[in-house]
């Protein structure tokens, strides 16, 4: 689960990491008030950042500086409502603009192949790490945390020295260990600080000092672990979530809306992807990815059908079930129930094989509007034809 920058910063701050203060504003006036407070506290400028879960908001114009409160309000009103990669901006983060001496990149991420937590650091901060990986791979320094003991002190020191942060080593070690602590405390897949920056700070007496600060943060949470962190569910940003996705999640269905017109209902993620691929290969356009899971009962099937049909562009539905744990007759009954209740009727191509496929065929026999298919290829062809006919 992705969470917003502001929430990521909260998780980092909870582990004691140095994060400058911030406020989230949902309208320009609130942004202005937040800016006023920051200017009153001595800020020279503030930064207004779109809060969206997609990357590239800077390039899209979603991150701007403001020199006074009025400008902050104006900037916020320009950013709010902006469309960034299909997401409408409904909130901005307001924070003091830092006096940046140098920017770094620091992240810990689940490394599947090594089965370890991987720390990645780069002295080229503030840009996308994939870009650095492409243009200057040697600039990225990596080290695996110990699977049981975590990031050891010497590993954190090593990374700090490699990034040229010897002068800020103690701060860096604390931050790196804090990143790991954030990962563990929240079952995160990724904790990223970009930029981690040396910032110049002027104290009340005029003395200037330099410190490390986490200026931006990205955290991705492990969906499988959300159950044991009840508080984290509240960080799910419903602003950016399709209501259909929300419903699917509540039903325990794995659902992703796509652009096409052929609804797909499949059991198993790999088979669901394959079904989509075959639809496309046959000249159709899948309207969604939908895995109804292992032991789907008939009521779940009916819910899944409702989700698919909630998309007005759906012109035909392809049901592809390979019974294993899932029993074919259960799925068939669910389809018949759903068909009976649904308002909008679209052609339904059904292929059910495996456990209780024969019982399923009996259930479906003679139900109007349901076309049986024998093989996967056959089912895909029929669904594509049905959608084209309905278009």
């Amino acid at each position: 689960m992705k969470i917003q920058e502001a929430d990521a910063k909260s998780l980092l701050a909870a582990q004691g990491l140095p994060v400058p203060p911030w406020t989230v504003a949902r309208d320009p006036a609130a942004a202005r008030r937040a800016a006023e407070r920051l200017f009153a506290e001595g800020a020279d400028a503030v930064v207004i950042k779109a809060q969206v879960l997609v990357g590239g908001r800077g390039k899209a114009g979603g991150v701007k500086l403001a020199k006074d409160a009025a400008e902050a309000e104006a900037v916020a009103s320009r950013i709010l409502g902006m469309d960034i990669k299909g997401i409408t901006v409904v909130k901005v983060l307001v924070a003091p603009a830092a006096d940046i001496v140098k920017e770094f990149y620091l992240a810990c991420v689940l490394d599947r192949a090594a089965r370890r937590v991987l720390f990645m650091g780069s002295a080229e901060g503030g840009v996308e790490i994939e870009q650095v990986a492409h243009s200057d791979p040697d600039a990225i320094r990596t080290i695996h945390a110990h699977p049981h003991l975590g990031l050891l002190d010497f590993q954190a020191r090593w990374l700090g020295f490699e990034l040229g942060l010897g002068a800020h080593l103690k701060e860096f070690v604390a931050i790196a260990k804090g990143l790991y602590a954030t990962m563990i405390a929240n079952d995160a897949d990724l904790v990223e600080i970009n930029p981690l920056a040396i910032v110049r700070e002027r104290a009340a007496d005029g003395t200037v000092s330099e410190h490390l600060q986490c200026l931006d943060a990205k955290v991705t949470l492990d969906d499988s672990a959300l159950d044991r962190h009840p508080g984290l569910e509240a960080l799910r940003d419903l602003d950016e979530e399709d209501p259909v996705d929300v419903q699917a999640r509540h039903e325990g269905l794995s659902f992703i809306r796509l652009e096409g017109d052929i609804g797909c209902m499949v059991n198993g993620a790999g088979l669901a992807m394959t079904t989509m691929d075959l639809v496309k290969r046959a000249g159709g356009q899948p309207a969604n990815f939908l895995d109804i899971g292992g032991g789907a009962k008939s009521d779940k099937v009916a819910v899944a059908m409702g989700l698919i049909l909630s998309d007005p562009s759906v012109k035909a539905i392809l049901v592809n079930i390979f019974g294993g744990i899932a029993r074919g007759d259960e799925v068939a009954r669910g389809l018949v129930e759903a068909r009976a209740e649904q308002k909008r009727v679209v052609p339904l191509v059904v292929r059910i094989v495996g456990t209780n496929a024969d019982l399923a065929a009996e259930v479906l026999r003679g139900v109007p509007g349901i076309e049986a298919a024998s093989s996967l290829d056959d089912a895909v062809e029929k669904a594509v034809a049905a959608a084209k006919a309905a278009a």
Partner: protein, 295 residues
């Protein structure tokens, strides 16, 4: 022979008294798998499967009393990491973990314990393995198999069934079919299983079923070139049309940035001389084209 499971398998079922455990234990026993013990803490002394299988409180008691050498785990995610560690701690050398939704960081902790015990873990969130005619461990439907010489390894569940059914329909039997699971952190990789197939004299061709996310397919392609250049091998990759940045069901099935795309995987596999099927149903034909005959 065959790999992972076979006639020498003496199976322990962890969570045998649960709904899932009971159902699949029946299926496995009906297939002929030698289930020697069940295990559920607090149910020691009872029996399962109509009195044919003793149930123990601990894995160590199960191993001591029955000589179990393999286990399959059907316990909920909260208890599954501990169940894996208990199994390997009791000396079991092959562990199948069917349980899904185990947090990845839990698996990071478990893996070194498994490795230190010298054991092999398949899964979690995997369908298990079947050596047709010999033994079936996990949840793969019994009906789809045919005895033969093709090794099947897959990150998926039902997609595996689809492929195996297609092979069986074409008269192409399997030595062993293994589902390694679709989670980001799994106990056995493609390459681990390929190594077993390499060493198995009864496996003469291999089907690999991959999907988007990670780089396991790319690594497998390199491994094939270096280790079994002459073994006939066909692959299938699910997710050619999946949009980047969205998790396609499996926690591991996600294209991030340029990594993990189907295109990258297909290119790597083809560079290794592995034919990549465009549909599961094409696999038997591709196998025949490279000289694999029905049996």
């Amino acid at each position: 022979m065959s790999i992972l499971v076979g006639r020498e398998t003496r199976l322990l079922v962890q969570g045998i008294t649960g709904r899932e455990g009971t159902f699949h234990a029946q299926q496995m026993q009906a297939y002929g798998t030698n289930i020697v013990a069940g295990m559920t803490p607090g149910k020691g002394g009872q029996t399962a499967l109509d009195g044919t299988v003793p149930v123990f409180d601990t894995c160590s008691a199960a191993v001591r009393e029955t000589g179990a050498n393999t286990t399959v785990i059907y316990v909920p995610a909260a208890g599954a990491p501990d169940a894996i560690m208990e199994a390997v701690g009791a000396g079991i050398t092959t562990v199948f973990c069917i349980t899904e939704h185990i947090p990845a960081l839990d698996m990071l902790k478990v893996m070194p314990v498994v490795q230190a015990a010298g054991a092999r873990l398949v899964g979690p969130n995997c369908p298990g393995a079947t050596s047709p005619g010999r033994a079936k461990v996990g949840i793969i439907p019994a009906t789809i198999h045919r005895e033969g010489r093709i090794g099947v390894v897959s990150r998926s569940g039902t997609l595996t069934y689809e492929v195996v059914q297609a092979l069986t329909d074409a008269g192409m039997g399997q030595s062993t079919c293994v589902g390694i699971g679709g989670d980001p952190i799994i106990g056995s990789t493609f390459i681990d299983i390929l190594e077993l197939f390499k060493a198995d004299p009864e496996t003469s061709a291999i089907v690999l079923i991959g999907e988007i996310g990670g780089d396991a397919e790319e690594l497998s392609a390199l491994w094939k070139t270096a280790n079994i250049p002459d073994t006939p091998m066909v692959a299938f990759i699910a997710g050619r049309t999946a949009p980047p940045g969205r998790r396609m069901g499996h926690a591991g099935a996600i294209i991030s940035g340029s990594g993990g795309s189907a295109a990258s995987k297909i290119a790597a596999l083809e560079a290794a001389g592995i034919h990549v099927a465009e549909s599961p149903t094409h696999i038997p034909r591709l196998l025949q084209e490279i000289g694999v005959r029905p049996n």
